[in-house]
Each structure stands twice: as structure tokens, then as C-alpha cells.
């Protein structure tokens, strides 16, 4: 893979990584730096697209009133009908079997395959500024409560940029995804038997945290340590 191929690929999907891409990023300082900068601008793109709907509607309502041609009665009737329809859609969807937790589990498990270079047993902690960048705006982590954090990166998971950390557990590396905006009702099990990995996605306040480690890793102790160490910053 050359620089042009690599850059085209990450410009199409900054979260993309495969073995060839990881090798190129390791060997080419310029591309590694380019990828880091691209991921910074990606965070901006995401923020720019997610404007605050309520305040925009409020402003638009105030500004647009004179230029709306629809009679007020029609507008109200339409809004009411759409509101009723929205409630109807919601009610029906609520009683359909939910696919979202399954999707979250699948996306999280799939993400483990994205960054093979992160999966190493080491006593070397990740650079503090790299960790800071990965966490920025999402969470604060009390490092005293965790073992060595050996890897940190901001990754696109289920449509959102989230901190992806690797900590060193009792039985080897453990992947943590800090899913600050993925609210779940109950703990979801993760299982990759072909890789000898297991884990959970556990709820934490308004978000959740995915923990994936070796089959021999004690999940209970890890869950407690992680829950005590992470605090959402948003």
C-alpha cells in the first residue's frame, strides 16, 4: 500500500484500518500524522452535522413565520397529524423486537478486528497527550484506578466518535470503548469464542462501556474498576 492508496482509504473512512493500513501507518510518519489530523477534522465534521435541533426549530419558527405561505390552520393540522403519526410509529416500534442492542453488540465486536496493532501485552503506557486527545470532550479517566492504559484512539463506532482504549488486564490486553451516548437498559454480553474473548457492554449513567478481554479475564473486577475510573465529560 502506498501513501496515495492509504490516504484515499482513510479519507473515505477515517476509522478504517486493516493490516496493510496499520503497517503503512507504522512505517510512514507523514501519513500517520495526516491520519491524526484527519481524525481531528472528523470530530469537527461530526459536531458540525449534529446541530441542536430544538434551538434551530425555535429560531426558525421566529424568523420564518412571515414567509411561510401555508395557512396557520393547515400548519397546525399537519403538525398535529405528524405528531400523532410520530407517536404511532414510536408505539409500534416499541413493541417490535428491538434490533439495536444486537446491532451495538455486533458493531463493538466487529470493532475489535479494526485495530490489531492495539492488541499487545505491554507494560508501556500510552503517551499522555495521545490519551488526552482520544478522551477529549467525552470522558475523564482516573488512571489511578486502572492498570496500564497502553493504547488510546478516537474511533467511529455506531456512527459516533468514541474513545477506544486498551488496558492491561490480569490475563492480557482488554479493549474498552467509552460509549458516552449509547444508553442501554441492561448489561449486554460480548462473545468472540473463535478469538478466545469475552466481555460485556455495561450501562454507566447515560452511556455505556464495552469491555472485551481474554476468556480468562475476570470481568466482574474489571467492570468495577472501569465504572469507578470513568466519568462522562459531556
Amino acid at each position: 500500500m502506498d501513501c496515495e492508496d492509504y490516504r484515499q482509504r482513510i479519507e473515505a473512512d477515517p476509522a478504517w484500518i486493516d493490516e496493510a493500513g496499520a503497517a503503512h501507518e507504522r512505517d510512514c510518519g507523514a501519513c500517520a500524522a495526516y491520519a491524526r489530523r484527519l481524525r481531528v477534522s472528523e470530530r469537527l465534521i461530526s459536531e458540525a452535522l449534529r446541530f441542536d435541533v430544538a434551538s434551530v426549530r425555535e429560531q426558525d419558527g421566529a424568523m420564518a413565520a412571515p414567509r411561510r405561505r401555508r395557512p396557520i390552520g393547515t400548519t397546525w393540522a399537519m403538525a398535529a397529524s405528524a405528531g400523532i403519526a410520530a407517536v404511532g410509529v414510536w408505539l409500534v416500534l416499541t413493541f417490535l423486537p428491538s434490533g439495536d442492542p444486537d446491532r451495538l453488540v455486533a458493531v463493538v465486536q466487529d470493532h475489535w478486528y479494526h485495530e490489531p496493532t492495539s492488541w499487545v501485552q505491554t507494560s508501556a503506557p500510552v503517551n499522555a497527550s495521545v490519551l488526552e486527545t482520544a478522551l477529549s470532550g467525552t470522558a475523564r479517566v482516573d488512571l489511578e484506578r486502572l492498570s496500564v492504559v497502553s493504547y488510546a484512539r478516537s474511533c467511529l463506532v455506531n456512527g459516533r466518535w468514541v474513545p477506544h482504549l486498551v488496558v492491561q488486564g490480569q490475563a492480557g490486553p482488554v479493549m474498552l470503548l467509552l460509549l458516552s451516548r449509547e444508553a442501554i437498559a441492561d448489561t449486554l454480553p460480548l462473545d468472540l469464542p473463535q478469538e478466545g474473548l469475552h466481555g460485556v457492554i455495561m450501562p454507566l449513567d447515560e452511556g455505556s462501556i464495552a469491555i472485551l478481554g481474554d476468556d480468562d479475564e475476570s470481568l466482574e473486577a474489571l467492570q468495577q474498576d472501569v465504572a469507578a475510573a470513568v466519568e462522562w465529560a459531556i
Binding site: 473515505a12 452535522l49 426549530r57 411561510r68 403538525a79 410520530a86
Partner: protein, 157 residues
């Protein structure tokens, strides 16, 4: 319900770049979704199902009202307010840059970043080949980086 309704509104806005029109599109789309709920059998595909309805409704609105595509120089007060609704000037610059992107680049980017669709799902939604989606996403980001990078201190190598 609120999270996906907000995202649908955002998607509609980034399609038409007009807050009022986006409201109309989402309202009409909700009515159509309600009428065709019986065709939805699996909630796992609800997001792409609703996106398709919004996308079609957006096309219908344009056809019906014979609206022209928008130019950045034709910003309404509401558009300008939306673009400037962030206190962060970097986000404001990026929003402006996205606003200016051609629809063929803007839509796949919105579907990927905002709606979390994979390139395969985007290809299906836009009836394109996956390679074409990758090219459009690559070009979209290239244009955004070229436009916004100087303000962020990013130098394109």
C-alpha cells in the same frame, strides 16, 4: 423517539439546507411512515427504512415545489443562524464548508457520519456501487480539509 427524530430532521436539513423545508419533509415523512408501518417487519432496519422515506419525501417536495438547489450566497436568516449556532468558530467554519459541498458529496458524508451507515448501506440507499461511495466520501473529506484546514492549522501534505 426523540433521538432518531432529531437525526431525521438533521438528515432532512442537510439534504435541503433549509430548516423550514426540513420540518415539512420530516412531517410528511412521519405521516407516510405511519401509513406504511405494516410493511416494516424488522426493527433492525428501521433507520434505513425511515431514511429512505425522508429521502423520497425530500425528492417529492422538490418536484412538487420545483425548488432550485441552494447556493451558499443565498443563505436565509434561518440558515445563517443555524450555521452560526455553535459558539465554536471551528464548528461554524466546518458547518459552512459542509453547506457548500455538492449534494453528491454531502449526502453520503451525512449518512456515514451522522446516521452511522456503512459504505455498503450507503451504496444501497443511494443506489450506487460501493466504490463510487468510497470515492465520493474521499472527495467530500478532501474538499472539507482543503477548505477548513487553514483555519485549524492543518497543512495538507
Amino acid at each position: 423517539m426523540a433521538p432518531w427524530r432529531d437525526d431525521l430532521y438533521r438528515y432532512a436539513f442537510w439534504l435541503c439546507r433549509d430548516p423550514s423545508l426540513a420540518d415539512d419533509v420530516v412531517q410528511e415523512a412521519m405521516l407516510r411512515a405511519f401509513k406504511s408501518l405494516s410493511s416494516l417487519k424488522d426493527q433492525a432496519v428501521v433507520k434505513t427504512w425511515l431514511l429512505t422515506i425522508v429521502r423520497r419525501e425530500h425528492a417529492r417536495v422538490y418536484e412538487r415545489k420545483r425548488l432550485d438547489t441552494r447556493d451558499i450566497d443565498d443563505l436565509s436568516a434561518a440558515d445563517a443562524a443555524l450555521i452560526a449556532s455553535s459558539e465554536d468558530t471551528d464548528i461554524e467554519d466546518m458547518r459552512k464548508a459542509i453547506f457548500e459541498l455538492d449534494e453528491e458529496y454531502r449526502e453520503p458524508l451525512v449518512l456515514q457520519v451522522l446516521m452511522g451507515l456503512s459504505t455498503a448501506e450507503i451504496a444501497e440507499a443511494l443506489e450506487l456501487k460501493q466504490g463510487a461511495v468510497l470515492t465520493r466520501l474521499h472527495r467530500a473529506r478532501k474538499k472539507l480539509v482543503e477548505r477548513v484546514s487553514p483555519a485549524l492549522g492543518i497543512v495538507k501534505e
